[in-house]
Symmetry: C2
Subunit: 194 residues, 2 copies
């Protein structure tokens, strides 16, 4: 990691959430990290771009989006501090991205390349364990999200989102909440009236 004023405590706490890394191990990880600073509206990852990094968010708010042929845009993920974001499919298979990652607030992210991650996981069992747990947790959360599509109508999905992420939704326009929930902004607007 290049010289920076970034406080790494947060990152270390994050990595230690399932099992603890030694000081040395953490240092080895940090040496593979590249820092990127981004301005609001900046695009971190374009569609059709080769995805060789995953990004941990130290500060800021980003979204990954998928744009349909007809121009409709869907939000795959909101990502704030302590979240990871990338196009997983493209990252793991070294393919081109189907998603775009855009910065909604000025941000600082830690970039970890695919190669670095594989090297580190092979060297550091605890890190492999971390990413294994992390992947499982992400899966479970996504499954929960899918389940709300199967069980709940748009208004209920909106209310559940408000309950689960009360602070997040205040940082995000209703237009984008709609794009995440899978409804039009008009429909969402009619919910919030009442």
């Amino acid at each position: 990691m290049q010289g920076t004023e970034s406080n790494l405590n947060q990152f270390r706490n994050h990595l230690d959430q399932f099992s603890t890394l030694s000081d040395l191990q953490f240092k080895v990880v940090v040496d593979h990290i590249k820092i990127r600073k981004l301005k609001k509206h900046e695009v971190l990852l374009h569609e059709d771009q080769v995805v060789d990094h995953t990004f941990w968010i130290n500060k800021g708010l980003l979204i990954s989006t998928f744009t349909q042929d007809d121009g409709r845009e869907h939000i795959i993920q909101f990502a704030i501090e302590n979240c990871w974001i990338t196009d997983q499919q493209a990252y793991y298979n070294q393919e081109r991205s189907k998603f775009r990652i855009t910065c909604l607030e000025d941000a600082e992210v830690f970039a970890l390349s695919y190669e670095s991650r594989e090297t580190l996981c092979a060297e550091i069992g605890e890190l492999s364990h971390f990413f294994r747990r992390k992947a499982n947790d992400s899966f479970v959360k996504l499954q929960q999200r899918l389940l709300t599509y199967l069980t709940s109508d748009a208004q209920q999905r909106f209310e559940l989102l408000c309950e689960e992420y009360p602070t997040l939704i205040q940082r995000i326009s209703k237009k984008r909440l709609a794009a995440y929930l899978g409804v039009t902004r008009e429909t969402l607007s009619r919910f919030t009236r009442s």
Copy 2:
């Protein structure tokens, strides 16, 4: 693993798909496996049951389902030969299951306890790697499924499912395909008419 006539080649091939295990490593894994044979309609996992195993399917077809308060049943996953199935959330957090896992065809499954899995992953780096990759792949597939809800109407979702799993859908009733796709059987029936 208790004495059995099961052919383990298939299981070994499965585990070797991302990186190869040695004969010894594979033996260690197999020693943690318990075999279960199930009849059609048999329930492998009930709702509210503590989930201490994940199951690899050697033979057969199972589904995991979530039942809403009003009785509507949604299919979370179809699982055939070479798939793993469990209630991930409950398994990883040692909680009670929200899903039910039911056998749709006579089956033979390999049960791996949570404890065994963690022990094995700690001992065998290649296995940790396997489950990490596996979790990532599952995540990507689930994300793709979610995306079809955001981008496609019910008929398109049905057609995509037919394209992707042409053989699977022949083993499954339309009622259940509907419960997977998030439509009523009546609506699905109207698609297949034409």
